[in-house]
């Protein structure tokens, strides 16, 4: 919602959760109010063109936004995110040891070309996804201690077809009959039900892939398995929509999949535009050329000042938290008191109000509002300049030491504005004279990977799925220099998180994660800043049922199968 770099930065992580109550919208639609089919066109700006139309190869939310509509995963989240519900699987059983998941597929599920979806399509889809030679970007939650036999994903010799084949056939995936898909896990994982809701975990049609490739190919081949996904005609999916047209750099058009088991959607044309410039999208929305957009932060005041537009604006919380990362390998940032002094000297309310027009919300904890684990009882990082100065004095750290530190900043207007505000807060409240270090985004990433920075931000995480496991793994020591850029030393944290990850009792899990969150806050592993909200404009005639939580790329990142256009 902020500006593009920041938007993109988090989009990778947060997505996949949002689903509108499946067909409920359809049945409750007041049919008298329904616009005729010719007007059932929904035009959405998803900002960026997907790199692939093969859902297994999609890693960013703006890509998954297409995968969501054209393919359907086994389960999907309930609207309130309290649990999962049926999707391509009508039900599922978990064995008492938590290791075997049996999915009972929708018996009348059909592909967009009319053929029935079988359990072997699911096995093929998961194998295609987990083929190490294809190097799918979003594959981690599936091999990382979840699916049995998947753990050595990284050590398979990808130049050997037999090595890949034996890895894929050794995975805990099976199809005992046409409508039963069984997944065996390596460890109990209460969160696995969320993992199978991701857009990457879908069935793929082997015959479609092979006919587009011009015949069978060895599993070492990296280009032939993707030929089908580059042509609208050969993209056969099991979702409510199918792709009818791909206009590179401009838009993708989806039309109803009339063979979808849950009934074809009412929207006759779902068009995603790739308009990168927020102001262009905004002016197109105003002239009626777009129906759903994300409001550029620069235009928030314009929208609020306009009586008509203000009524069409919606503020949605996202499951996304941002923080400032301290390089704890650099003295004196290895001292928790010094980190806490930085964390306590930022007026987060002023930040979200002055810089972001109140479209985000200040937060001093890790788990965002809206998912299990949200808890604001720990106020250790609350804004308190006096206490912050006292902490610095206690640590015996002088301003001249800290003035050498720079705040590493990605080169975008949004990040610069935000970080300038934060540095000003530190300079004012702690009596410092710190500077920004503004560098191009790629170089920033390569520097934080190597731990070559002092303080970096805004760094953040958005939920892949609304289970706390997805968040707490970031700060384990094994993630040091991987996602955990600051590498704080937190005694007992790894063991606690691992225990919670494999625990099957949800109450016990929640208690353990809460203890882990307290460690992060109290030792100022990072300085938590704000939760991202999304400010969207939705045309009054577009009836889109929204869940309370959504992702940045919302516009495209929700399920439009129950959406419809009212007469206007």
């Amino acid at each position: 919602m902020q500006l593009s770099t920041r938007s993109r930065s988090i989009a990778f992580a947060c997505s996949g959760l949002f689903v509108v109550a499946a067909c409920g919208g359809n049945s409750s639609a007041p049919s008298a109010n329904l616009a005729p089919p010719a007007q059932q066109i929904l035009r959405v700006n998803t900002v960026v063109e997907p790199n692939s139309y093969d859902p297994t190869q999609e890693t960013y939310a703006y890509e998954g936004s297409v995968g969501h509509e054209t393919f359907e995963a086994l389960l999907k989240p309930k609207a309130d995110l309290s649990d999962v519900q049926a999707a391509a699987a009508k039900s599922y059983d978990v064995s008492s040891d938590g290791l075997t998941y049996t999915f009972h597929l929708q018996p009348n599920a059909k592909w967009s070309d009319g053929k029935p979806v079988t359990a072997s399509d699911w096995v093929y889809g998961y194998q295609h996804f987990l083929n190490p030679a294809l190097a799918a970007g979003y594959v981690d939650p599936f091999f990382d201690g979840t699916i049995a036999g998947a753990a050595n994903y990284g050590s398979v010799d990808v130049s050997s077809a037999s090595a890949i084949d034996s890895y894929l056939s050794g995975l805990g995936l099976s199809a005992p009959d046409a409508t039963t898909f069984v997944i065996k896990l390596a460890h109990p994982a209460a969160y696995f039900k969320w993992v199978v809701t991701l857009w990457v975990a879908v069935p793929i049609r082997k015959d479609v892939v092979e006919s587009a490739a011009g015949g069978t190919f060895p599993s070492t081949d990296t280009t032939k398995p993707e030929v089908w996904a580059n042509n609208a005609k050969t993209i056969v999916g099991n979702g409510p929509f199918k792709i009818s047209e791909i206009v590179s750099k401009d838009h993708v058009t989806m039309v109803p999949n009339n063979t979808y088991w849950g009934g074809a959607p009412k929207i006759q044309q779902l068009i995603y535009y790739f308009i990168a410039d927020g102001n262009t999208a905004f002016s197109k929305y105003q002239t009626g050329a777009l129906d759903i957009i994300n409001t550029p932060v620069a235009d928030v005041t314009v929208v609020r000042g306009d009586a008509t537009l203000a009524k069409q604006a919606h503020l949605y919380p996202e499951l996304t938290t941002f923080w400032m990362t301290f390089n704890t390998q650099k003295a004196p940032l290895d001292n928790a008191d010094v980190r806490m002094a930085f964390a306590k000297s930022i007026d987060r309310n002023a930040l979200v109000n002055d810089i972001e027009h109140g479209t985000d919300k200040a937060i001093q904890s890790f788990i965002p509002n809206g998912m299990s684990g949200y808890d604001t009882s720990d106020n250790a990082q609350a804004f308190d300049p006096t206490a912050a100065k006292a902490l610095l004095a206690k640590a015996g750290v002088t301003a001249s030491t800290l003035n050498k530190f720079k705040l590493l900043t990605r080169n975008s207007t949004g990040n610069k504005t935000l970080n300038q505000f934060i540095v000003n807060q530190w300079n004012t409240n702690l009596g410092l004279n710190m500077q920004l270090d503004v560098i191009d985004s790629k170089t920033v990433t390569s520097r934080i990977r190597k731990g070559n920075f002092d303080i970096y931000g805004p760094d953040g995480w958005g939920a892949d799925y609304p289970d706390q496991q997805d968040f707490f793994d970031i700060f384990t020591s094994t993630a040091c220099h991987n996602l955990n850029w600051g590498c704080p030393t937190l005694a007992g944290y790894d063991a606690l998180v691992q225990k919670a990850d494999t625990e099957l009792n949800q109450t016990q899990r929640n208690a353990d994660y809460l203890r882990a969150q307290k460690m992060l806050i109290d030792q100022a592993a990072v300085g938590f800043m704000y939760q991202q909200y999304e400010y969207d404009l939705i045309a009054p005639y577009a009836n889109v049922t929204r869940t309370a939580f959504d992702d940045e790329y919302t516009p495209g990142d929700q399920n439009y199968q129950s959406a419809y256009i009212t007469a206007h």
Partner: protein, 342 residues
Amino acid sequence: MAVIAGRPNRGALLPPRFSAVTESRAGSLAIFVTRRALWMIPVVFFVILITFFLMHLAPGSPWDRGGGRQLSQVVVNNLNIKYGLNKPEYQQFLLYLWNVGHFDFGLSYQYEGKTVTSLIGEGFPYTATLGVLAFLIIVPVGVGLGVLAALRQNTRTDYITMGFATVAASFPNFVVGALMVVVFSVLMAKWTQHAFFLPAADFGIDDHLIMPVITLSLLPIAYTARITRASTLDTIRQDYIRTAWAKGLSERMIVVRHVLKNSLMPVVTTLGPTFAFLVTGSLIVETVFNIPGIGRAFVTAVESRDYPMILGTTILLALVVAIANLIVDILYVFIDPRVRLT
């Protein structure tokens, strides 16, 4: 040759017959073009060599994300293997040369399963449309302004024209582009209540072309006008022009037939650099106006370290510039018979 009876061999003093001239010139032209075409091979080789190692020196890998969650090391390793980045750089370089020799420019890292050739094919029509339109504007407008200024030397027309050329030549195209967007899109939309304004993004081959083409052609117009003016001033002082006036030819006849033709040589010389400018200018103009051409493809490829795409676009742009210069050299022959190609 013996001179018989003191009479000179008249034939020896006569110029060679016209057909003989063209024949020998066509032959030397063919040799010239072939030689220059062969020279492009080492040129492209060095372009690849320099680009290849410079881009590998740039910090950040193609798999680094802009921010937020990064790909796990396991996935990065597999991606490196998939695209051959696990091999030593010299091997990657030799492999790339081998593939280019077979007209295989590789797969883009940004777009799964898409070849560099197909991506360049998608962008080329936009860049070519812009370039050709700009070119069609630059030559007549630039030459016209230059001749006008020269013929009206030291008058108000001259001062205004050259004043414009100086200003236009001083503004970099990203400034011109941004200013035009502010004036003709943002402010114009505001003043006219969205009734009339020029579109600044979401490109299409229609009124979207106006601002990018003007932005792209402004500096070359100024440059061409100045060169033409100087060259024309030089020409109109020549004896044969005075003779033409003395013969009582009309001004139009003198300007078109005698002045213009003889002033064009330096102008043609600038066409090569102008073309190169259009190519490099497309990087900026396409980025400013969000045009999905080769220029923007190059910029985004650099930003995301899409190595095959960077190399592919660089080779294409280098070839375009080389071929443009070759064409200019050939044009000399037809404009000035004194020029010999060697």
